[in-house]
Amino acid sequence: MQEPLLSVRGLTKHFKPTGFSRGSIVRAIENVSFDVPRGKVVGLVGESGSGKTTIGRSVLRLIEPTSGEVRFNGIDITKLSAAQLRRQRKSMQYIFQDPFASLSPRMTIGQILTEGLEIQHVGARQERMQRAKAALAAVDLPADAFGRYAHEFSGGQRQRIGIARALALGPQLIVADEPVSALDVSIQAQIVNLLRDLQIRLGLTMLFISHDLAVVEYICDTVIVLYLGRIMEIAPSEKLYADPRHPYTRALLSAIPSPDPTKARTRQILTGDIPSPANPPSGCVFRTRCPHAAEQCAAVVPPLEEVSPGHFKACIRRDVSG
């Protein structure tokens, strides 16, 4: 089997309290391991605060992971020097959740798109313009967008610009952090289609972060379900939707409101809130909200077990995960 483009092992990130703020260490992600094979899309889902962004940024070393290794093309990027890393950055790009915050309000679209090329000293000015225009075309934006500012575009268009910026550098890996969450439904689908299309056309490898299981389904090959910084379940997407094994995954799926008023409501509503990652429950972190929690759940950190080929779950209650 081919070596995966991205291979994450034992990734952990703890945020230490700084300056003013008291409080204990925030265990944002704990011992996370997964692979992203070349040309595939891996989805990362979970509720707010579950550590999706932290993983996404650690993987690109936009924040320094506390421990663990991140192999990109076989190189452990956590060990690179600042200069080496800067060179690597060309081949790994990030797409942001918020299309408003991720584009500088004071730069024209042209400046935004050529920024990366300039930083990486790619080509001459003319060539950079060329590449930026090509990227703009690839996301279906008119060329006259070049001289305008971000605020003159709608949310969907802005997200396209964000995508174009990532594409302009010709990366191998893209980490897309909730690229459609902030968009209207009608636009969401446009962007998902676009990303899917680009991914196939350019053979991109992608880590696709979302809190919306429904969106992830269309674009991802594999889905990782995250809860409080731990992986609950990993499965190929068909399997996950057809046969979710972890109680959390199932709760998540059932909480999605169905746009069909006639459908009988058999919702399973989770009680309570996500515990604080500064003070996570012992054992299985989900046990405080889990309808199936048993006594031993508090004692053992459930290991990630393979339940069928490529399908892993971290739950010791084999009896209920049917």
């Binding site: 790009q93 915050a101 730069m107 990366g116 500012y149 003159e152 575009f153």
Partner: protein
């Protein structure tokens, strides 16, 4: 496919549009007109004004405003109007240059501190704290001996005194900016310090810099006045607005010869107000988002 949301004037370039925004701001325009009038008067006065600033006339001391001396004469019979004009040249030159220099220092120190973070940040900020704790009189005293009088030393002294506050403000702003997505994006593309400083830091500090600059201009002119107490600043009899205001230290000038300090005082206030309005206008004009309002 879909067209961008059209905004009036979006067909012009960014500079033209900034200009467009500026000219629609009435207060800013008024400020600009006043400022331009002052500048033109200051620059051209030798061409149309009979008196020169240092021409003494011991027979016409302390004369009030009249047809020949619009703003009266001072304690050695020099024409107050001519001195006001000449003083304007010096004061504005000193103020504008020193503000520019302290803007550069303050911005660079604050921005480098914010973007480098960690130990470097701590060390730089402690130095800034130290600079702020030091009473300015002492610094002035030393600088007085090292640099002496004249325009360049004055500019140097004023610049050196004023940057720490600015660098704190810049740092605070950029610490927040550093975590913003578009800056993270730039770092994600491998941006180094220089890029972050000038492509992101600078444009996003414009408002701070403009507000600081407008307030500091007044301050610099006043500081220059204060310097002459310590044998610094602009050497007499060269006129500056600060020097002229200083004349009010004498009770008789303060009470009896009000024109000797009222006019420079008024000139200072009017200039500062005009600069402030222009500054506000510029800040808005530089902000592409203000179209939306």
């Amino acid at each position: 496919m879909s067209a961008a949301v059209a905004v009036p004037g979006s067909s012009q370039g960014p500079t033209a549009r900034a200009l467009g925004r500026f000219v629609t701001n009435r207060l800013a325009l008024a400020g600009l007109v006043v400022l331009a009038a002052i500048l033109i008067a200051i620059l051209t006065y030798p061409l149309w004004w009979t008196y020169t600033p240092n021409q003494i006339d011991l027979r016409a001391l302390n004369k009030g405003p009249s047809a020949s001396h619009w703003f009266g004469t001072d304690g050695v019979g020099r024409d107050v109007f001519a001195r006001l004009m000449q003083g304007g040249r010096i004061s504005l030159l000193v103020a504008v240059t020193s503000v520019a220099v302290s803007l550069v220092i303050g911005f660079l120190v604050g921005a480098v501190s914010a973007f480098s973070g960690g130990l470097a940040d701590g060390a730089i900020m402690r130095l800034v704290d130290l600079a702020m704790t030091l009473p300015p009189v002492i610094l002035l005293l030393v600088l007085a001996s090292i640099v002496g009088t004249g325009i360049v030393p004055t500019i140097a002294v004023i610049s050196l005194l004023s940057w720490p506050v600015l660098s704190r403000m810049v740092r605070a702003r950029l610490l927040e900016l550093r975590e913003r997505d578009f800056v993270v994006a730039a770092r994600g593309m491998g941006a180094g310090m220089g890029h972050l400083l000038f492509r992101h830091g600078l444009p996003n500090c414009i408002d701070i810099l403009v507000v600081y600059a407008t307030l500091q201009i007044a301050n610099a002119i006043l500081l220059e006045a204060g310097l002459s107490f310590l044998g610094l600043g602009i050497a007499p009899p060269e006129a500056s607005w600060g020097n002229m205001l200083n004349a009010a230290r004498s009770t008789s000038v303060l009470e009896q010869y009000v024109w000797q300090w009222m006019f420079p005082g008024a000139a200072l206030v009017i200039t500062v107000l005009a600069i402030n309005f222009v500054g506000d206008g510029l800040r808005d004009a530089f902000d592409p988002r203000s179209d939306l309002q």
